[in-house]
Symmetry: C2
Subunit: 368 residues, 2 copies
């Protein structure tokens, strides 16, 4: 009896699979599709790709059949024929020393992805160790895998830029590489200005001992932030204290560690500028651990990339912050790259996004 039932089950399952087989699995190619329609491959291809030289009625018939038979062109073959792969490469460097994955990355990519999917592009992701970058870029650029590249995490005088320029493949850098003598397209936040403004804001509140807990300064953005920080002091003719400037990985833990160090000195800072919301969380923890109050005893400003899982309430955020959505940056970078891909002769373009200075509850007048 139970045997019978299990036999039924098997039959049922097979039935189901057969059904699925017809409706979903069966993969047709252009040739089969066109034969089934009694048309040539040419006509079918044109009908599907919106060319004008095919009768509207025919186009309808073709499109219906394509949907019904589950036709989807093979991207490889199409790429071969058109010379375009309809894919964009994102290459993110993974440094062996501190093997941290940039938290920025997820949101940036989500933004870019949105642009791509609207245009029918795919995203090809490659992580690459510091050393073997060249080969990876070559591989990608080898006309065929991708039509364009987005460069993540540029460092000072980054070797990838001349390389990509010489490979003649469209690319957009997210961020900038300081002293590169070559021109290239980039999308960046105005790190210098936003940190200058943030610092000025603190100076205006009467703070003089302001600390900078920066990201690692072999990254370009970190340098610029420091430059902005320093230029604010210079503008006010105030001397910054070098012992209040450090650069560490932007983790909660290091933010905490550096803050503790600084607050335990004889002459602690009254304000701290942190290069990320994450390290800012560590800064706050350290302050509170010591029994001080954020925004009262110590003011804190962070840079907020608006990572989606670190949302701040709209009305009165916890942190006063220089704010700029990295997700939007991803979208914009992708848009720019698409433009370059469509029109490879056009000149490199530079997009400088301004960060807002959003005042939250973590800043107040300097204690006296």
């Amino acid at each position: 009896m139970s045997e019978l039932r299990s036999i039924f089950r098997i039959i049922f399952r097979e039935l189901k699979e057969t059904t699925n087989f017809d409706s979903a699995l069966k993969k047709v190619n252009l040739k089969q599709l066109s034969e089934s329609l009694g048309l040539s491959q040419t006509t079918v291809s044109r009908a599907l790709n919106g060319y004008p030289e095919v009768k509207e009625a025919t186009r309808q018939k073709v499109q219906d059949a394509a949907r019904r038979m589950n036709y989807a062109p093979n991207p490889g073959a199409r790429g071969l024929a058109t010379g375009r792969s309809m894919a964009i490469g994102h290459v993110i460097p993974v440094s062996k020393q501190h093997e941290m994955v940039n938290p920025i990355f997820g949101d940036f990519v989500a933004g870019a992805s949105q642009t791509y999917s609207g245009r029918g592009y795919d995203m090809v992701l490659t992580h690459v160790d510091d050393g073997d970058e060249e080969s990876v870029y070559r591989m990608l650029a080898s006309k065929g895998r991708v039509d364009g590249i987005i460069v993540h995490g540029p460092r000072n005088d980054d070797a990838r830029i001349p390389l990509l320029n010489s490979l003649r493949i469209p690319f957009v850098v997210h961020g900038r590489s300081s002293q590169s003598d070559q021109d290239y397209s980039w999308v960046d936040v105005n790190n210098q200005r936003s940190f200058r403004r943030a610092t000025e804001f603190l100076l205006d509140l009467g703070h003089r001992r302001i600390a900078l807990i920066n990201g690692l300064e072999d990254m370009d953005f970190a340098r610029r932030r420091r430059a902005g920080f320093l230029s604010a002091f210079e503008g006010r003719a105030v001397q910054p204290d070098p012992s209040l400037m450090c650069s560490a990985e932007m983790t909660e833990y290091y933010g905490h560690q550096e803050t503790v160090k600084m607050l335990q000195t004889d002459n602690p800072p009254t304000a701290i500028l942190a290069s990320s919301l994450i390290s800012g969380l560590g800064v706050r923890r350290a302050i509170e651990e010591i029994g001080m109050t954020v925004g009262q005893d110590v003011s804190v400003i962070v840079h907020d990339d608006m990572l989606s899982y670190l949302t701040e309430p709209k009305e009165v955020p916890l942190f006063t912050a220089t704010r700029s959505s990295v997700r939007v940056a991803g979208q914009i970078s992708a848009d720019l790259l698409m433009k370059l891909v469509d029109n490879p002769t056009c000149e490199p373009e530079h997009i400088l996004l301004e960060a807002e200075l959003v005042v939250g509850r973590s800043t107040g007048p300097a204690p006296r």
Copy 2:
């Protein structure tokens, strides 16, 4: 004089570019390479792909020339000829309602990427809105774009699983989909057991009012965690309080919000279990804000995915945590998928990773 110098500069630059042109830009295909060697395409292809029927001396010559002339096979063409794309698709769902990018994602992908690059595979990333999943998967599966797929963020009874099964394409799910009647390969953390253990640990410490600040429970992992949580109570014949269980997005902000709510009631929890380190940070903030001490007045356990930018010190971590590296999970998932791709007939495999319970400073005996 300065004019002369600038002319020299221009000449020099052009020279440099010309050199680059030869060494980097010039893209050769198999035909050109083989002609320059006086060999047939067949032989060259075989030499490069390690086939035995070519003389070792010839192979050397070919390999040298390939390197020198900067030859790299066109992946599209190769894919056409071999029927394999040497690419793996990662599809991550983006829900329109709460458009949060899963922070897990960056690290998971970094782990997987490591596996791929060792095997010569690329990673094709697609973000897809909840609705149009089917078409995206079909597109990808359309033999050609990718050889296999990794499914992220499975929900309860996820429709993607029967779909992919019927498409007959190898895939691995990161996580599980509860009541799916189909078999499929997955890699998951033993969420149930780890949350059961964590809860038992708290019960052992004398806690009775234990809160669970879970992730959104349309995600499978969140359900399992709750099940583990409840089973620990059941095992000890203790009644859990439903008002102490909530499920929210796993952000710092929501962790804080929920904790504040709970601590302000008449009968607050003495311990809190948080589904992520990020929401755990919010939990801690709330506790300290109220003037209580973590690990003393309120114990906290979090689940720690070991995200690289949320590292905890090795010796005595801040948080007692159920710990399991999502990066390693990425690597393992990719390994499994590679195996399935190489051998499509093999049965679905299930890998259940155990999380360690690491004791840190955030837990202590229940206050009395």
